[in-house]
Symmetry: C2
Subunit: 547 residues, 2 copies
């Protein structure tokens, strides 16, 4: 058959050929709205391609982008890739030393930077070893006062270049981009992606048994475009020619809710905290209607079942859970309901929707026990989650040690997540192996405890971490943010948890705080919490756990 | 990223891993029903794999299958392919000399033959140059009296072999199968398929903007499994773990209607004549309910718009038109309605649904005029349809001459179909270039005329072919099968056509016959009709055309 390479120019060419008039909408930082079409975007991407040539970037050179989600970032999703270069999607929310590490690790030769991040970049520029030039993502007037140099602005860079470009023939196994992991458990790790992987990931995003993103959808990626390729949404949506909406800095609940309402968004995606916060906003502003939504994808960490119910019952906006990793492009499993599940009573269906989900087509998944065999599919036996797919990485960039341990001999990635599996093949992620609480030789899942805490009506957010214990090794500490409406005591929470969990799972201590610190990608920052609550519990302090 | 090869064992492994209990149902020739599951099928496919090894078939050897659609044929869809051999799906409805040509052309080393076709195969066995053994697709008791040798039966061949098999690593560019074209325009041409092509085709079959075959579907391929991979349905359905229903010999309208009703079929596919005939049956048997159907795919030739309306209005079973070729695996375009079309009035939507359709994701399509440029997308200007995709062939087997002409320099296949394209990117196939009628230097589409004839309520079937004309070169001859209810005259037809077409398009002559001869894949056999009505029209016989 024809050796048509699975490269990203194909996605773009399809959109501009068949859907030239479909819109790409950006809510700009100043609150105004920028609208243009795939045809417009295409011309500018061609100009960008010429500009990259003029900058003297070689094949394979990495182009760093430090930007929120907006149309210029979208252009950068294609310009470098379609010319044989690589986009490095930088996570500027990382702490400085991690941020610098990622830029150096990727050896970015140029950085495209939002005006708002110029200061942060400039403050670290001394430490960049490879960066030779800077481009500010705006017009000349938008370049802030800065020491960075050489610096130019994006609009001047593009202007004057031809609006057509002959894409080179690129082998599908060429790197098109790189992301770093979120740094939740340590130094972020670089994952280089190939054209083939993202092409296949984009196709699968449109599969009816996966995200089913089609041309009739309007997508709104709230998830940052630096977080695992914006979960592949900008590429998948381009492939089908769907309308796209970018929020730039406006990722607060109010702005997102209004964008969904006004732009008739049918598909959006973010980490759970975003949807948790938006629920508060929607309750206070019942005139805002988000019921256009068909799928509100949530991933990055597990959403509580209570959140899924709330979005169904109160806002008519179904939540769809996804599990994935930077290493998996990221689509791995989705809590779509297979036929057998749609025939179950509603309550049981919610149990399924609260799971990490079912492997999407093209993704091989297994849960391996200590004996090296697949664990029984009983929904109870825990094991290490391992995955294999054309869009899963086979190595980390510059990390020989991790590379030695992260892959099995038969080519699966060890995800570092602990999971169970049930008869119907659904995976539920119990916890990260690093976050599991080892109490007297038995494992307690921090995720299950925190999700049950968040189901309490007077809890806004909650997390659970291990603290040292002189007798049981580790015991759970619950850290809770009350909603503030009504009283909330340790006893309330303990009796609430006791309805679901055995005595020995119940936290030994509760801390009430105002806000749970989040990581750069909006996950609960357990590293920071463990440092902050670095206490040692003693046996006599315990209640039930000891008996 | 991981170099996971896109091979067909992945489809099978997914089905058996996640949907082991889903059913594969066959209505056997004797009228009884065979049911088993993917888990059962998998064990037998492993046994078949061992048996193929034992037969001494080398890597790359072609295994011919002469069979209707049933579970053993399904097993053969995987056994040879997953062990690095190739299944040659033989079209036994071809005239003998064509049938023999296809077997010799493919150099089949073994033929797996339905009991019902043993006689036909035996009658031609002398001419097979490569076939060394025969396997009858049944149990020992089902082998008919025959001279074929050596011959064994399928069940004995399988029995005793282990029910597990370690699939070899196969490069995705390896041939997994071969089909021959239908022979509508001449000697059938062999098309070799790779694993990669059919894997991608299967994925795309599940895309929400294509056939959207998902795990909740129950599929019934009426289209023979030798016709362009059964339009890829058995592979696509396996990938998602959908229930499959095979009719074997029972492809008459009554049987199909009952199977749809009883097995709750949601997706079926066939050439237009099947659905035309089934409509007659459904009208006479209103108690049969086929409204489970979500998509009744029709392809191979253009269905009349009147048929599409009838299925909506009377049976609540939406028809979806597809265009494709043996050369394209076959999925090319589908008359899915893009967002802009769903907003049009119903009548205009039907116009879209009567078109060949919109390019499925992954398929590049263009219509090229005489000047070598894309024709304007005005819905009127005709040109040659050209396509490019990872699942389009880049050569015919053993056909150097065709290979020289069928492909453009930049790697597109010249389909031989004449098409127009409209603003929204939809393709409508006007005719095959060989069937277009050239009247006085202007082109008349035989397909458009015949579809309008079939919209007449007293016409059961109709076709139009060119006949020689002493002044205008060629003129249309209409060949019509009346329904038999009420009178039908030439004048009725002429005035009916005159409502739609200009005078010079109207046929010069009408022939009324009892049945239109069909090709091996159920298309109108215009070659045969042209031979039968090999007449020369004279100028003085004409009416309006001359004035
Ligand atoms: N639906 C989900 N349920 C539970 N956990 C999830 C879910 N989706 C993602 N995760 C968690 O997120 C991880 C992947 O996140 P990401 O790639 O953003 O980096 P990280 O693992 O948070 O950071 P790092 O690898 O640098 O420590 C998964 O391994 C898993 O632990
Ligand atoms: N929806 C459709 N509308 C009109 N024509 C169609 C449609 N689908 C398929 N066809 C016709 O069928 C052809 C492909 O058919 P197939 O591969 O079965 O062999 P064939 O072209 O009939 O035979 P041969 O190539 O041997 O002459 C297309 O080229 C086109 O002419
Ligand atoms: Mg990680
Ligand atoms: Mg043909």
């Amino acid at each position: 058959m024809m050796s048509v390479q699975l490269t990203l120019d194909k996605l773009l060419e399809r959109a501009v050929d068949l859907f030239p008039d479909r819109e790409l909408v950006t809510k700009l930082p100043d609150g105004s709205t920028h609208r243009y079409t795939y045809a417009d975007a295409y011309e500018r991407i061609c100009q960008l391609a010429h500009a990259l040539d003029e900058l003297g970037l070689e094949q394979g050179a990495r182009v760093g982008v430090v930007a929120t989600n907006h149309y210029r970032h979208f252009e950068l999703y294609f310009g470098p890739a379609c010319t044989g270069r690589s986009i490095h999607m930088c996570n500027m929310r990382l702490p400085d030393h991690h941020f610098v590490h990622t830029v150096d690790d990727a050896e970015d030769e140029v950085l495209f930077v939002d005006p708002a991040f110029v200061e942060k970049v400039a403050a670290n520029a001394d430490e960049f070893e490879s960066v030779e030039q800077y481009v500010v993502l705006g017009s000349e007037a938008e370049i802030p006062e800065t020491d960075l140099e050489p610096v130019t602005d994006y609009e001047s860079l593009l202007s004057g270049h031809p609006t057509e470009y002959e894409w080179p023939d690129i082998d599908e196994d060429t790197e098109y981009g790189m992301c770093h992991t979120s740094g939740t458990t340590g130094l972020p790790k670089g994952v280089p992606y190939t054209h083939r992987a993202m092409y296949l990931h984009s196709v699968m995003g449109g599969h009816v048994d996966a995200n089913a993103i089609g041309e009739r959808d309007t997508v709104l990626p709230v998830v940052p475009m630096f977080h695992a390729n914006g979960w592949g949404i900008p590429y998948g949506a381009t492939f089908v020619g769907a309308k796209q909406v970018f929020p730039s800095v406006h990722t607060d609940p109010e702005s997102i809710a209004h964008l969904i309402d006004e732009e008739e968004v049918t598909f959006s995606a973010a980490v759970p905290t975003i949807w948790l916060e938006m629920a508060e906003y929607l309750d206070e502003n019942p005139e805002v209607d988000i019921s256009n939504i068909d799928r509100l994808t949530v991933g990055g960490s597990a959403p509580p079942e209570s959140l899924i119910r709330r979005y169904d019952e109160e806002y008519d906006a179904p939540i769809l859970q996804g599990w994935g990793m930077t290493e998996t492009s990221p689509l791995g499993t989705l809590s779509t309901l297979r036929k057998e599940v749609t025939e179950l009573p509603t309550d049981e269906q919610y149990e399924y929707r609260a799971m990490a989900g079912f492997p999407v087509p093209g993704m091989q998944v297994r849960v391996i026990g200590d004996d090296g065999e697949e664990v029984p599919r009983d929904g109870e036996t825990m094991g290490g989650l391992e995955v294999r797919s054309p869009w899963v990485t086979d190595h980390y960039h510059n990390r020989p040690e991790e590379n030695e341990h992260a892959f099995t001999e038969d080519g699966y990635l060890r995800t570092g997540d602990v999971a169970v599996r049930n008869e119907l093949g659904y995976v539920d992620v119990v916890d990260r192996d690093k976050d599991m609480i080892k109490s007297g030789g038995e494992w307690i899942s921090s995720v299950q405890l925190e999700n049950e805490l968040m189901a309490h009506e007077r809890v806004a957010e909650a997390t659970v971490v291990a603290v040292e214990h002189d007798r049981w090794q580790e015991r759970p500490l619950a850290i809770v943010v009350p909603t503030g409406t009504g009283e909330l005591s340790e006893d309330d929470l303990e009796s609430h948890l006791a309805e679901t969990f055995p005595d020995w799972w119940l936290p030994d201590a509760y801390e009430f705080i105002e806000e749970i610190p989040k990581t750069s990608t909006g996950k609960f920052d357990k590293k920071r919490l463990r440092d902050r609550f670095d206490i040692v519990l003693e046996a006599e302090k315990e209640g039930d756990a000891e008996t």
